[in-house]
Amino acid sequence: MDNDTKPTEANLINRRELLRSTAVASAALVTAGASSAAAAPSRRGAPAILRRQGGKLVVAMQNADQQAAQPLIDEYAEANGIEIEVQGFPFEGLLERLTINLTQATGAYDVVSMDDPWMPQFAGGEFLMNLEELGYERDPDFVPELLALGDFPPGSGLRGIPWVGNVQVFAWRTDVLEELGLEVPQTWDDVLNAAAAITEAKKSEDLYGFGLRGVAGNPAATSFLPILRGHGGDLFDDNNDPKEPTLDTPEAQEALRKHLELAKLAPPGVENVQHADMGTNMYSGRIAMAADIWPDLLLQIWDPDISQVVGKVAIGPEPAQTGAESKNMTGNWLLGIPEGSQNPEQALDFIVWLTAPEQQKRLLLDNNIPATRTSVLTDQEAVEKLPFLPGLLEAARKAVPRPRTPHYNAAEAIYGRYIAEAIAGQTSPEDALTNANKEIRDLMVREGVLED
C-alpha cells in the first residue's frame, strides 16, 4: 500500500519523464496546429482557384425545392463538367443560414433560393450581386409582377430571378356551389354567407364551407392577409415603403371579425392547420373554399392519384369588399448570387439555364414547380394537363407582395401569433390587433424606422 501512495525517487523520475513526454507531445500538437493554421489559407485558396475555373457551385434552397429540382441540377452539372453541391434546409433553417451567410458575405454559397419577402433584406442590403451588372438582360417573358420582386429597391437592378411562381389564390368547389345554388363569391361577405350555407348543408358529410390556417406565425398571418387586404386594410401604411403599422384600423377589425367567423365554419382543429393540411383538406374534399391556396397545392388538387376533386375546383382572384381592391399575394422563390461568391459567372449561367423556358416547363410538368414565365403558363401542353394555369397567370398579374420591408418577417411573427391567439380564443380580436399593432410599432422604433 505504501508503495502505491508514497512519493519515491523512482516515482518522481517517472513523473518527470511523463511530463517531458507530455511537453514534447504538446509542442508537437502546437506545431501541428501552427502548421495547420499556416496551411489553412492555401487549402482555402486552392478550391477558390478551382471555383474560378468553374469547378464547383454551392447552392442553398428549401428541402422540397431541392428534391424537385435535383434532376435538372444534376443534368446541368454533368453537361458543364462542374460539381454542384445543393444544401437543402427547412424554411426557417434556410432563413437563418442565409441571414448569417449573406450579411457576413462568407462566400459559403454561390447560388441561393429566397422567398420574396426576404428580398428587401437581402437585395435592399445589397448582400446579393446585381445580376444586370454581371451581364444579365431582363427577359420580357417573365410575368412582370414576378420579375419585379427581384428588383429592390425598385429600379436598383435585379438581384434575384423568380424560379418558383407561387401566387396565393382563392379556390372553390364548383360542384358544391352549383349544387347549393350559390354564386361564386366576389366579396368577403359573399364568402362568409356561402361558407355558412355549405357548412350547414354539408357538415354531416364532413364537408365544410371554408379552410384556413391557424398556427401562430407565418401560417396564421398568411391566411389572414388576403382578408385584411380584401377589406381595404393592410399591415402597414405603404406596401412599398412600410413604416407605420395599420392593424388598429376599423378595416382590420372588420377583417379579423370575419376571419374568426370563417374559422368557425372550417373543419374542427383549425388551430393546428398548416400549409400541407390545407392541401389535404382541399383535395380530400373536406373544404369547399379557401383563400390561402398556393400552386404546389393546386398541383395536388389536380393530381388524379391523390385528389378526389379533380375537375371540381376553380381558382381566381382573392375576394374583396365593395370599394376595396382584389389583391393576390406573391410567395415567389428567387435565385440570387450572394456577395462573396467565388464563381459568379458560372452561378449566373446556372440561374439563366434553370429559369429558361425549357427548364421552367420541365420543372412544372415533371417536378411540380410552378412557372414564372408567361410562355410556360400559357403553353398548350401545360394548360391541357393543368387547366388552372390561366387562372394562376391572372392571379399573378394582380399579385402584390407582402410589405417590402426588411422587418417583415419579424412583423409577421408578431401579428401571426396574435391572429392565432384570437382563433384559439386566447384573446379578443380587438386586443389581438391593438397589441399586434403596438408590438410592430415598437419593433419599427427599435429598428430606427419610426421615432418613438
Binding site: A216, G269, E271, N272, A420, E421
Partner: protein
C-alpha cells in the same frame, strides 16, 4: 478508515524544491489547466458573451455585427413582455407536471419490475426503446397518432362509440396531449434510475420488516422510500431541469399552439431569434432562463438535498 489513511499519506507529499524547474513547481496548475481552459471556453465565455449581448442592441450589418450598448433595456423589456411571463408560467407548470407524472410512473414500474421473478431483463430492454428514439421522431410519430382524421387514438375512440378529440388543437386538451408524449418518452429514464436504486438497497431492513409482520405498504413507506430518497431527489432535480428545456416536441407537434398557449421559454427564445434575429433580446432571455435554472438547482441542492450532499465519512 482506509480511505482516510490513504488521503493523509497522500497529503504528505515531499515539498517541491525551490531549485526544481518551473513546470515542476507549478505542476498542480499545469495539470488542471486543460480543464480550466475547457471550462472557460465552453462555459464561461458563452455565458459572458451572452451577458454582453444582452446589454446591447445587435444587428447584422455587412460583414459584421453592429452592437450598441443599451444597458438593461433588454431585461426591462423581458420583464414587461406578457409573452415571456406567459411562457415562464407555462414552463413551470410543464416542468412540475411532467416531473411529477414521470417520477410517480417510473417509481411504480420500478417497484413492479423489481418484484418480478423472471423477465426483468426483457422488460427493461423494451422500456429503453423510447429513450433511444430521437425526440423529433417521437414527436412526428405522435403527431400522426393524434391526427383527428386518421390517427389511431380517434380510431379507437370511434370504435367504442366516442366522438373525435382534437388532441393538438383543442385548447383544453393540447397541453396534456403534449405532456403525454414527454411522459411516454422520459418515464423509462426515470424508471431505470429508480430501478437501479431499488435493486441496490440493503436487504436487512426488509427482512426485519418481514419478521415484524409489516404490511407491503408500511414497508414501502418506512423502508423503501427513506432508503430510496437520495436517488429520488437526484432524479427529480434532473427531470425538473431537463423538462424545463422542452422545445422539440412543441415545435414539431403544435408550434406552440393552439395560439401561443404552449409557448415554453425555449420556444419563445427561439421565436425571438428566428425570424426576428433580435440577438440582444434573445441573449437577455437566454441569460434569464439560464439564471433561473441555476437558482432553482442551487436552492434545491442546498435545501432539499442538504442531508445527502455531504460525502460519507
Amino acid at each position: 478508515m482506509a480511505i482516510r489513511i490513504r488521503a493523509q499519506e497522500a497529503a504528505r507529499v515531499r515539498p517541491v524544491s525551490a531549485r526544481a524547474p518551473w513546470w515542476e513547481r507549478n505542476l498542480a496548475w499545469l495539470l488542471v489547466a486543460p480543464a480550466i481552459a475547457m471550462f472557460a471556453l465552453f462555459a464561461i465565455y458563452p455565458t459572458a458573451s451572452a451577458l454582453l449581448f444582452s446589454l446591447s442592441r445587435a444587428r447584422l450589418i455587412r460583414g459584421s455585427l453592429e452592437r450598441t450598448y443599451i444597458g438593461l433595456d433588454n431585461f426591462r423589456r423581458a420583464f414587461e413582455d406578457p409573452l415571456v411571463r406567459q411562457s415562464a408560467a407555462f414552463t413551470i407548470k410543464w416542468s412540475l407536471s411532467v416531473t411529477a407524472m414521470e417520477v410517480l410512473l417510473g417509481l411504480l414500474i420500478a417497484l413492479l419490475v423489481s418484484q418480478l421473478a423472471r423477465g426483468r431483463g426483457l422488460i427493461t430492454s423494451l422500456l429503453i426503446i423510447p429513450i433511444i428514439m430521437p425526440p423529433v421522431s417521437v414527436a412526428v410519430a405522435w403527431r400522426f397518432m393524434y391526427d383527428p382524421a386518421f390517427g389511431i387514438f380517434n380510431y379507437l375512440l370511434n370504435l367504442v362509440g366516442l366522438g373525435d378529440v382534437y388532441w393538438l388543437s383543442d385548447p383544453d386538451v393540447a397541453t396534456y396531449a403534449l405532456m403525454a408524449v414527454d411522459v411516454w418518452q422520459t418515464t423509462p429514464f426515470v424508471f431505470l434510475l429508480l430501478y437501479a436504486g431499488l435493486i441496490s438497497l440493503p436487504r436487512d431492513p426488509y427482512e426485519a420488516a418481514a419478521i415484524d409482520g409489516a404490511s407491503p405498504w408500511f414497508t414501502f413507506r418506512t423502508v423503501t422510500l427513506p432508503l430510496l430518497k437520495p436517488v429520488l431527489l437526484v432524479v427529480i432535480l434532473l427531470r425538473v431541469i431537463d423538462s424545463a428545456r422542452i422545445f422539440d416536441k412543441i415545435l414539431v407537434m403544435t408550434r406552440g399552439g393552439p395560439g401561443s398557449q404552449n409557448y415554453s421559454m425555449t420556444y419563445t427564445i427561439y421565436q425571438e431569434f428566428i425570424p426576428k434575429f433580435d440577438f440582444g433580446y434573445t441573449a437577455a432571455l437566454s441569460f434569464l432562463f439560464q439564471l433561473s435554472l441555476v437558482i432553482v438547482a442551487t436552492i434545491y441542492v442546498r435545501r432539499v438535498m442538504a442531508d445527502y450532499s455531504a460525502p460519507a465519512e
